[in-house]
Symmetry: C3
Subunit: 274 residues, 3 copies
């Protein structure tokens, strides 16, 4: 199944409009290209509707948001809805400030979001509508573990039901859920949290895959999560074999995405349906 | 000839003021350094005139433009004109939105631009004064091929005559033209379009070379195009020999620019005068 | 001593709030992670006070400053003071424009800055309150050399006394001084100035180390300078052994920071107290 989903990206080479932060934007653009799509970054309110109209999906990322870009996010989101383009929301740091929490909640109210991807704390914040995270990393207490997995999956499904969005929670264990079905994925490596932007990159990849698979968003999102996790494993292997550090890991991670194919994906994915 | 042009950059170590997008800005800065110049990025209208006055050329890049930076581009451009500094315009995404098309045309009206570098669709948009591109990549229909090369060169010369700017159209075949003379260059690799920012980087390199060769802008621009293409070939060779992906290609590309010398340049350039 | 300082960063894993430029921000974030801390980049005035409250130190970097972010810098700085968090100022390009000079001086007036890190020209500009630099690199005439070292150390101590901040001047020879004591460090490689952002990265590293060693800021800043210099040496060795260029150097530099440990640091540091 994931095989076809990946082939669709390469065959359709969709355009992905991203309104994203200036910290990880270059890695996001290169990841979108590596998985077979084309990135367009544009955040001025006078052009975002036109730009989104040229594209096949929209990724909204709240890292380094500001007054000017928040309005552009809302406008682009509404236009994407009008056109039926998948909209992915990455609520970076939701819970860390009122501005981020309110913006995430406002976007969910004014825009029909198709996929929400965050760490456990960000998703919890969106679910509760209140702040509790520490910075942009997930709180230890919120993390999904084997012990709380069942409850986490249930909560993800409920939130998916309420928001009509697919919920993607990433961490050591990843959950991709709609209201009735959840994929639990166990690929990846802890080194992914030792470079900046793996979450943002994943949201960009999900945006790319959803753009080419608009009728199959749950599996598209799960495929994206699987692909990033597997790329992380491959990059970790290369890094340790060569006794390198995290900057090399980052290079290997993007390299791996460009070399990903359906066979490798199907072989390496560690997936469970719940 | 290109040998002397490159030597001038290393000898003069000029300063290049860039007002550019936040997607590829780091690669642009590192490319400017790799070819022997020094970058200064500054986009606040209260300082761009002073900053441009300290520099030897100005590169204006329309990627992720916004209301604030557009005014800074105009102000910096006028100051650079006053001082006789070469001005390079990279109309990223011209044609993809009214904002980008209008800004490109406004800049050409209010600022004397010395070099315009874009893909075939962006240049066509500037030539026609209307929008027709799909995103920030060139439309298939607009691309320069062996079949339409003669017509493309003629159109480039005409546009150069009308705008008084050197026209640089990049793609599989590159054209560098003023009103009466055109260089056609055939270096490069398709992988260059699989990472973000090779166009932006080229504009930054052209800005560096023009800064050190202000009396010889046509050859300076052609040298820049040749150098980027050759770096692409070297990076591609390394990437494939090592079975790496696009993020490694990007590292090799910038590495190659830092190792470029006149001899390598003269040997590897594939150039025709039309 | 440096050993304990470095161990504290890894043990406490502090959060570092950076308001910084979009040119080198990704490298800064990855350097903060590489040395054991966590980065948060946020620059909207509506959230900077909350974000800084979640963190353990604040790094203010003037590269690509604008009207909007300058106000956020002041607000965040005041909040950090209120909370007793170390504040690091990197006056990128102070002296290159009135805006940068005035902003640096305004910050020093309205915020209690704990560490100021710049090149010789930037520090001179702050000391004199006037502009004289050429771009964002240090003027040849301002550089610290063996010949003027004694005078430079004296000037640094005086400025430290006046500003109540630790003064870090980086170049071929580095000086880290408070009003009464100065460390002179001689690690590093000239290649560090052939990539963009080594200064910014160092400020980010100093912010990380100070966050975990708030009672020992002079030694924390000196440890940061030593670590960056040693990483530069290791990266240079790797780059030359493999006949690579500056983009590889950048990867090796961040890799080296992630692999730095107390033993390596103590062995490689070239330090003198004056």
């Amino acid at each position: 199944m994931f095989e076809t989903i990946l082939e669709n990206v390469k065959a359709k080479a969709p355009f992905v409009h991203s309104i994203t932060n200036y910290v990880t934007v270059n890695d996001c653009a290169n990841m979108i290209l590596a998985c077979g799509a084309s990135p367009i970054m544009a955040d001025d309110i006078r052009e975002v509707e036109e730009i989104t109209s040229l594209c096949n999906s929209l990724v909204i990322n709240l890292g380094t948001l500001n007054e000017r870009t928040v309005e552009a996010m809302v406008a682009a989101g509404k236009k994407a809805n009008e056109l039926g383009h998948p909209v992915i929301l990455d609520p970076v740091g939701a819970g860390a400030s009122q501005l981020r929490t309110k913006t995430a909640l406002r976007l969910l109210q004014e825009v029909e979001v198709d996929v929400i991807r965050g760490n456990a704390s960000e998703i919890k914040c969106i679910s509760k509508g209140t702040a509790s995270t520490k910075g942009v990393d997930a709180d230890q207490a919120d993390k999904v573990t084997e012990d709380n997995l069942e409850a986490a999956v249930k909560a993800a499904k409920q939130l998916a039901g309420r928001t009509k969005a697919i919920i993607v929670i990433t961490g050591v264990i990843d959950i991709v859920a709609d209201a009735t079905k959840a994929y639990v994925l166990r690929n990846g490596t802890p080194v992914m949290s030792r470079i900046t932007g793996t979450g943002c990159m994943l949201s960009a990849v999900i945006g790319s895959i959803c753009a080419a698979n608009p009728d199959n968003l749950l599996e598209a999102a799960a495929a994206g999560v699987a692909m990033m996790g597997i790329c992380g494993e491959q990059a970790y292997e290369k890094m340790t074999a060569r006794q390198e550090g995290t900057a090399s890991f980052r290079v290997h991670l993007i390299d791996a995405m460009g070399c990903m194919d359906g066979e490798r994906l199907n072989q390496a994915v560690r997936l469970e349906v719940m």
